[in-house]
Amino acid sequence: MAREPLKVLTESMFYVLLSLLRQERCGTEIVQYVDDATAGRVPLGPGTLYTILAKFQEEGLIRETAVEGRKRTYAITDRGRALFRQELSRLRLCVGDGEREERAAEQALPGAERRELP
């Protein structure tokens, strides 16, 4: 079966890429960063992290930069940055769509209430 390239990132994947935007990090640093950045909202289990890192390497979104004993450090690639930007745009569109609908709903709500009044 052909390998399917990544199109949409899950929250965990998004934050792993985000953690590498400014600097190279190893696994534990990534977990720490995501925990801090999301105030514990996005938990990153070790199985999930290593699977994501392996998949990202396979896709060329990140690369390994150093190996010290059992510690490996990763950096984001240009392809990774491009995918991150693409995902960010998608999320912005989602947020924009959501906010627009919410505003419309808020505006429609009082009118609806008035119509129900005797």
């Binding site: 965990s12 994947m13 534990t28 070790p46 392996a54 510690k71």
Partner: protein, 376 residues
């Protein structure tokens, strides 16, 4: 108090949720996994409530070490490998995040392993079918003495082969179905479903009991079959002998010293056989006779037919003369020049005698009939 103990593990390794639940139950009873196997080895510890997870093991040793180190940093202690493909982790910290927190990445992690397991399971199924086919090559290829082999004890081996292969194939089917289901669940982002660990262990226990009982029965049977065989010089054979002897067939040749003069007996469950072999190289003289008492007449009839066809396979141009005689249920004399063959059946008794001597076996029907009556 023992610090180590072995427990029978649930049989279906693909049923990951159930195995995790079983290991959690064992930890709550104060046992932590040390080494996986059919009877896994556990080490005693303080009873504790914890989480246990199985994860696909990475094929690269360095990667696996790194993953283990990260797991340890995040509160997951690697215990051991299970079945070569899985790594078992324990987590005693209730605040630590789960091993997999993202269903999609979990599906990736398992996808490759489960795909590999599926391919290997299917290959194993095909190999088992091939093995089963080869066990019965005598039947398919039309070679060999199928009836004789069956009666002499191969029926048990074939029965075992059929049961074993059937059970193994059923296992492969269950495995493939289970793994495919697990893949679908993971792909859909549904968490692994724990089954009843006690039920899974009971199933495993049943399987072990049936397997070992079958093996013990088969080995016992083979020993019984081997013990049922005896061989001795013809001079030491207890009378009466189940054949028309060489002295009667060819008195001149009977005076010669034989290179081989042997008597063999076999007492099996379905057949009792008595066999005489007399052979001289130069001048060429030989008598081979075999009398079989078979468990039932239809099988005796099948054996009679096989005796004839075996002789005809060796001497294809031989002339077959059916004998119509009320003293036999079935009888025939086959003439292949110097080699003559008689086969006769009376009820459950089959007598076959091949003689390479200066005689015509049709002249000795009285003798063959007497042997059949004597051994009824």
């Amino acid at each position: 108090m023992k610090d180590h103990k072995r427990f029978l593990v649930p049989r279906d390794l693909w049923d990951v949720g159930t195995i995790e639940a079983w290991l959690e139950e064992k930890a709550a009873q104060g046992w932590i996994l040390e080494r996986w196997g059919t009877w896994a080895k556990f080490e005693r510890m303080k009873p504790i409530s914890c989480r246990v997870r199985l994860a696909p093991r990475r094929r690269d040793g360095a990667e696996q070490e790194e993953a283990d180190a990260l797991c340890q940093d995040l509160g997951w202690r690697p215990a051991c490998t299970a079945g070569g493909d899985y790594q078992v982790y324990y987590c005693f910290d209730p605040t630590a995040p789960d091993l997999y927190t993202d269903p999609e990445s979990q599906a990736w992690a398992w996808g490759k392993l489960l795909g590999r397991i599926l391919r290997w399971s299917l290959l194993a199924g095909l190999l088992e079918l091939l093995w089963l086919f080869l066990q019965f090559d005598d039947l398919w290829m039309g070679s060999g003495r199928v009836v004789e082999k069956f009666l002499s004890g191969m029926w048990a081996v074939w029965l075992f082969a059929v049961c074993w292969a059937g059970e193994s194939l059923w296992d492969v089917i269950r495995y493939v179905r289970g793994v495919a289901r697990l893949r679908r669940r993971l792909a859909a982002g549904v968490s692994l479903e724990p089954g009843d660990p006690n039920k899974a262990v009971r199933r495993s226990l049943r399987h072990e009991a049936v397997t070992w009982s079958s093996v013990v029965l088969l080995v016992g049977f083979l020993i019984f079959v081997m013990a049922g065989r005896q061989e001795m010089p013809l001079s030491e054979a207890p009378g009466p002998l189940p054949y028309v002897d060489l002295e009667t067939l060819d008195p001149e040749a009977a005076g010669l010293e034989m290179d081989i003069a042997r008597y063999e007996t076999f007492d099996g469950l379905l057949i009792q056989s008595r066999q005489v072999t007399q052979f001289r190289w130069q001048p060429s003289v030989s008598v081979w006779a075999r009398l079989d008492r078979v468990v039932c007449a239809p099988l005796a009839e099948a054996l009679y037919r096989e005796r004839i066809s075996t002789f005809l396979d060796a001497w294809p141009g031989a002339e077959v003369r059916e004998v119509t005689d009320s003293r036999f249920d079935q009888a025939a004399v086959i003439d292949a020049g110097k080699n003559q063959f008689f086969a006769g059946r009376l009820g459950r008794i089959v007598l076959a005698e091949r003689a390479e001597a200066g005689t015509d076996l049709t002249e000795h029907l009285d003798g063959f009939a007497a042997v059949l009556v004597e051994f009824q």
